[in-house]
Symmetry: C2
Subunit: 430 residues, 2 copies
């Protein structure tokens, strides 16, 4: 059973603040180990990758090869369930259509003084995509990371995925191929991040690394940041459902459990104004758990991090939702647009009773890589913007320089930067 | 004298690669000290801020107050040179006009299946702006950081600036006021970053922290990242000038020195196809150094990190420029647009012979906070986008859910996430 907080209780603010501050992950201290792995890959190149992979993944890349071949990919198509491959194509197409709308536009204009200004966007030249192995090796995540990079125009999309015992999920390879990944390597962990950042004999370095991973991967990404760009560090997943009493408790319970089954550290929160409905949802959660393959994980998540928040008026949920800044926010109410208009912080918002969050995980077209752990207060989900960057442009002629010069020289002088002022005045014989 | 590399030399690639890898900053190991300061500010609040400020800045905030008052700001206006205040207003207005063009547009549409998708942008609710003290306390940087936040619609823009001996530059206070900063506190260092991230009795926490600082500030920003957002970690400044032999050597020398005077770790690079011109620029650099107040700094930067690269054809400069990925790139050539069209990586590009980089530092309107240390390969200069974030939106009715359900359920099943599938199927009585 999840914890219950009531907004009417006198200690609600204290309890809610403590709830917000709850840490759901123990961050293992792997800094030193990771630092060593990165140094060894930089020094040893392919040989270090082969050694680490034998040790950590029990796979012999000396015989398998570091790179996945075209034949490997064809074999993966042959091994995959055709219906699932079709579903991946359907998802890929929808993700592509949606993300094409995110391509930023160049801007070039001349201001009233005749100064030309502008912004020009270009794609990052090469991107590394980390894909976890084992049960967290999700083909849908491959699409969500690779398709926006492809839409952005990234020329090299380089995927790394550990091959435990030599095996990579066929669907992961198929998803990579469908998404337009250009190179795939059978490596994982901090050693794979090091290879992407610094290169080896086989792997040319990339400019940015994205994708989720375990504590070693996250630490490695932090350590190579600066040499390459990185995406956000993903925490455990979470959903906040704001629901009135008119919902079917079973539907809402299913949504809470869909989040909880991800991970024992996942978090599902229900805010409602109806105590009887809340009790019915809790009962439905317990009932549905009985038939869920991942019941143990989901039950632990719901017990340890789940919460039901009872408010007097459902509109009181909105300021709480902004403070929670959930990765996923469902608005299971009659007029979700009215709620949306008053919201500021959420990664993705699912409007109305027929928009379960899981649709967004797979086939809606929107991205499922979203800010966790309250970071929606200051960041956004993955998009095409993560794979492009902007040059600012400036062009003056002699007349424009003459008009801007006095203020520029005044400020350079005030800041004690005389050479700055001189680089302007010397062009005007001032 | 700067180092010279010749693209025709057989060891050019080796030397250029080594040049790219040159570290210009020694990163002091201040992690442990910073961790302690942050913990003490979290525990001690205002009292810890007052203690640290007395110790590090020799200022008694117990009597001065932590917060800068309206009267302090009025006194700063009275103390400032009126011409410089006018120059700041001129710069502020131009920065505002340019950045207003960067405001992203919401997107809402219905796809052919009737699925509603969208993106909705909202401002970060509160932003902290770190401003260094001493000689690096630049009013222009206050404008460059605060104006885009204001344009984005950030409600609380909270500035911190250390008051060494109790003193803050009047122009910094004036710039903050002109830019629309809403709160100013007399604190600096890791303690200021901790106060912004976690709050104290006097200072409410913010959601994102931006602005340059020393090694302690940079380490503190890294440590609080996650609790709040941060901007990029700024390295020493740099300029790359691509110039043909038709330029006045004195103009180009002035531009190289304008960068070099910032910091002994700054870097100025000239690429040209004309050896006689290169020699003339070097002679001009030496001549101009003689009359430069910051000659010692500029000479050290030019000697230790400056470079002249001689290429056979000036077009050969372009792939080198993409690898250097300079913060500032000047194209002092007849047809800069033709060069621009073939470039991918640079923070800001200054087109033509009458666009010295220093104009962009102050009054052009574009932002002077730009990616350093080759990070223009994967990141962009500061903009309005750094102060907004996007919610993705999704809305389905029963018909749309029915159409998307089979693919979603197939993928959920393939990934072993049965509760995901159930949250879809339960709404369809499947």
């Amino acid at each position: 059973m999840a914890v219950t907080l009531r907004s009417a209780d006198p200690d609600f603010e204290t309890r809610f603040t403590a709830f917000l501050a709850t840490k759901r992950e123990v961050s293992a201290d792997v800094e030193a180990v990771v630092r060593d792995i990165i140094a060894r890959v930089r020094a040893g190149g392919d040989k270090a990758l082969i050694d680490y992979t034998l040790r950590f993944d029990k796979a012999d890349l000396g015989s398998l090869g570091i790179a996945v071949s075209r034949a490997d990919i064809e074999a993966a198509y042959a091994a995959a369930d055709p219906e699932t491959v079709e579903a991946l194509k359907f998802a890929r197409d929808r993700i592509r259509s949606h993300h094409q709308r995110q391509l930023p536009k160049d801007d070039r204009y001349t201001d009233p003084l005749g100064v030309e200004l502008g912004s020009r966007w270009t794609a990052v030249e090469a991107v590394g995509l980390y894909v976890p192995g084992g049960t967290a090796s999700y083909p849908s995540s491959v699409l969500m990371n690779a398709v926006p990079a492809k839409v952005a125009g990234v020329e090299r999309i380089v995927m790394v995925v550990p091959a435990s015992g030599g095996i990579i999920s066929p669907l992961v390879l198929v998803a990579a191929d469908l998404a337009g990944v250009s190179e795939i390597y059978r490596i994982g962990g901090a050693q794979a991040v090091a290879a992407l950042a610094y290169g080896t004999e086989t792997i040319r370095p990339v400019a940015k690394i994205v994708g989720p991973g375990n504590a070693y991967v996250a630490a490695a990404k932090r350590q190579v940041f600066g040499t390459v760009g990185i995406d956000m560090i993903a925490g455990p997943s979470e959903v906040l459902v704001i629901a009135d009493g008119k919902n079917d408790p079973d539907w809402i319970a299913a949504d809470l459990l869909a989040q909880a089954e991800h991970d024992a550290s996942a978090q599902s929160i229900l805010i409602t104004d109806n105590a009887a409905f809340a009790a019915a949802v809790e009962a439905a959660v317990q009932r549905q758990l009985a038939t869920l393959p991942r019941a143990e994980t989901a039950a632990a998540s719901w017990r340890d991090f789940g919460a039901v928040i009872l408010v007097g008026d459902l509109e009181d949920a909105l300021p709480l939702a902004d403070r929670i800044a959930a990765e996923h926010l469902e608005l299971a109410v009659d007029d979700p647009e009215a709620y949306l208009a008053r919201l500021r912080n959420a990664g993705s918002v699912f409007l109305g009773r027929h928009t379960p969050e899981a649709i967004g995980d797979y086939v809606a077209g929107s991205n499922h890589v979203l800010p966790t752990a309250r970071s929606a207060r200051f960041s956004s989900g993955l998009s095409v913007l993560d794979f492009v960057k902007r040059m600012s442009l400036l062009k003056l002629g002699p007349d424009q320089l003459r008009q801007l010069a006095p203020a520029a020289i005044a400020l350079a002088t005030a800041e004690g930067l005389d050479a700055h002022g001189r680089s302007v005045s010397i062009r005007l014989n001032m």
